[in-house]
């Protein structure tokens, strides 16, 4: 059996500022199989983007610092690689799409050239061949090949995001990390882009990490879901497990606080309070202050990771065994 595509273990990433330390990622571990789509869900400041950046080893250092942990891509630890090796992997094996299509393209280069650049960098091919492949890639993301020589400002937001995706997928990477790829776009455009990403992912046999705050996007694109809260993975499982049998009180709260499109709800049920300040995380469960089911035990220790069913892990003191399920019913 082949190695897992991605294995992150006990990753801790801090941002060390002059007078405070932002504990962005706190002991995250998970694995990913080939061909899978993993959704990472969390609120602003939950550490989703930092987690993604550390997989690419793009966390700016300083102020960022990987305190401990490993990120194994195909069995090789990305965090201990030489700079040169890392550069060979970026764009070829893993690539990333950022949230804002307006700023992630170079405004003074034609879109065609920007796609070609990645191809020439990683594939041993002639310029003419690179042009053909770049044009092919443009057409795959739904942009006519004639627009090869146009500049980013001549494209709309949705079209630019397509170009960004074309660049990311030009060398058919094994893993694509998409950081809120559709948040800046309108819903009808979002639907087009998500549809296209799903199709391309299947065609190129790429695995994908989809970072989002939108549970709807997760439901439509992902196989596995990881819920992040205050830098920790609080729950992890298949889409089916998370959407049908959420266990962590935070996940449950997230679902409850969403306004529904088909049910009449008089009042929403928000999660009370706020996420703790990532510079002042408590020593106990970080969800304690907002949790409706918190008990004294939660204050005493770090929550253990329990596995209520195979492949479904929860980091919660109250989720050991059947106790919680009864409380729910």
């Amino acid at each position: 059996m082949r190695e897992k595509l991605l294995k992150v273990s006990d990753l801790v990433v801090h941002y060390e500022l002059e007078n405070e330390v932002v504990e962005a990622v706190n002991g995250v571990s998970f694995e990913m199989d080939r061909g899978e789509t993993l959704g990472i869900v969390g609120e602003t400041g939950a550490g989703k983007t930092t987690l993604a950046l550390s997989i690419m080893r793009l966390v700016p250092e300083p102020p960022g610092r990987v305190v401990q942990g490993t990120v194994a891509l195909d069995g090789e630890n990305v965090l201990s690689m030489a700079k040169r090796e890392i550069r060979q992997i970026r764009g070829k094996k893993v690539s990333m799409i950022f949230q804002d299509p307006m700023t992630s393209l170079n405004p003074v280069q034609t879109v065609g050239n920007q796609i070609m650049e990645v191809i020439k960098l990683h594939e041993n091919c002639s310029a003419a061949e690179a042009v053909i492949r770049a044009t092919e890639m443009l057409e795959r993301v739904g942009i006519p090949g004639e627009r090869f020589n146009e500049y980013p400002h001549q494209f709309s937001g949705g079209m630019r995001q397509r170009v960004v995706i074309a660049i990311a997928l030009a060398c058919s990477p094994e893993l694509l990390i998409a950081d809120e790829p559709t948040t800046a776009l309108d819903v009808t455009i979002q639907a087009q882009i998500l549809d296209m990403m799903r199709r391309l992912k299947d065609d190129l046999n790429t695995s994908m990490i989809m970072i989002t705050h939108d549970l709807g996007v997760v439901a439509e694109t992902c196989d596995k879901v990881a819920i992040m809260y205050a830098g920790e993975l609080v729950e992890y499982g298949t889409v089916e497990q998370i959407f049908h049998r959420p266990k962590h009180p935070y996940t449950v709260g997230l679902f409850r606080s969403l306004p529904s499109l088909d049910k009449d709800v008089d009042r929403l049920q928000p999660i009370p309070g706020l996420m703790p300040d990532p510079t002042k995380l408590p020593n106990h469960c970080s969800f304690y202050d907002r949790c409706e089911e918190a008990c004294d035990d939660c204050l005493q220790r770090e929550p253990p990771v329990v596995e209520p069913e195979p492949g479904h892990t929860v980091r919660c003191c109250r989720c050991s065994g059947g106790e919680r399920r009864e409380a729910m019913e």
Partner: protein, 303 residues
């Protein structure tokens, strides 16, 4: 989750313990805290405070008067009684530097304040009303900007005559276009912010918009440029005095001290060295403080 203790978390905890306060921190207070951590800027600040004290109390601090001549000790190299030596007329150089700080700082500060008031009002009006008004004001400013600062001041001093007030006026006027630009761009940025629209929506008048909402938020770059402007004002005054178009003898002024000492540069090194070092120090410190203020006031460092 157990906290992971690293050297950085320990340091942060120390700083947090020192600055622990439950009271809210205003943006100005937060900026002051950041400035205090910048050692170079704080050192520059101390030097500037010393210069200010010299400028306010020269009579008390200087061992001799600025025009106290003693031919018996002319051209004395630095020693105990004259720590920085004496000049060709037997005047104590240290005393003249201390007295000279008064002139230099008055010129530096007053020219910036006047330039800022005029330039600030013009810039704010241009940015707030836009269109025609903006065009007219800024084109006139462009004409002024096209003339080098020193040349403009030189022209004004030459046509109006020498003396402190004309010198002040000359430097202040040459400052106006620069400050007008800075204030304009700063106000323009803030004008597009939603909080200005929000203030309009609650019925705020134009005056209130400009003075309560726009200007206070445009202060940061103005303070920074003002501090650096003091340095260039001092330099400009020294330059004009060196050329004989500024302060007239016997008043002590750094640039003039240099000018009258230049013939003795080979035989009496102290006559040019110490005023020169003073000018360098004063300008360097204002620039350092300006840079420090820029870092402290930069909203991206907010925290």
């Amino acid at each position: 989750m157990a906290k992971r203790i690293t050297p950085a978390t320990e340091r942060a905890a120390r700083i947090a313990a020192k600055e622990r306060s439950t009271s809210p921190v205003s943006p100005a207070k937060a900026a002051w805290r950041r400035l205090r951590r910048n050692k170079a800027a704080m050192a520059a600040g101390v030097v500037i405070v010393i210069l200010l004290i010299c400028a306010v109390f020269p009579a008390q601090l200087a061992p001799y008067g600025f025009d106290e001549q003693n031919y018996a000790v002319a051209f004395t190299a630095p020693y105990k009684e004259y720590p920085l030596g004496t000049d060709n007329l037997g005047r104590d150089i240290l005393s003249r530097i201390i007295w000279g700080s008064r002139m230099s700082l008055i010129i530096g500060i007053v020219s910036v304040v006047v330039g800022l008031l005029l330039g600030g009002i013009l810039g704010a009006v241009a940015a707030f009303y836009g269109g025609r008004v903006d065009d007219v004001i800024m084109r006139v400013m462009d004409v002024f900007l096209a003339i080098p600062n020193m040349l403009l001041a030189l022209g004004i001093a030459a046509s109006l005559g020498t003396g402190l007030w004309n010198l002040l006026l000359a430097i202040a006027i040459s400052n106006v276009p620069r400050f007008a630009r800075i204030v304009r761009s700063s106000v323009m940025t803030n004008k597009s912010m939603e909080f200005v629209e929000a203030a309009t929506a609650i019925g705020a008048s134009n005056g209130r918009l400009i003075f309560k909402h726009l200007l206070p938020n445009s202060l940061a770059p103005i303070i920074v440029q003002g501090t650096i402007g003091i340095a260039s004002g001092i330099l400009c005054a020294c330059g004009l005095s060196f050329l004989g178009l500024g302060i007239q003898p016997p008043t002590a002024e750094w640039g003039m001290m240099l000018s009258s000492a230049r013939q003795y540069i080979r035989s009496n090194w102290w006559m040019v060295t110490f005023p020169g070092i003073t000018i360098m120090l004063a300008i360097g410190c204002f620039n350092l403080l300006g840079d420090g203020l820029r870092d402290a006031l930069d909203p991206r460092m907010k925290g």
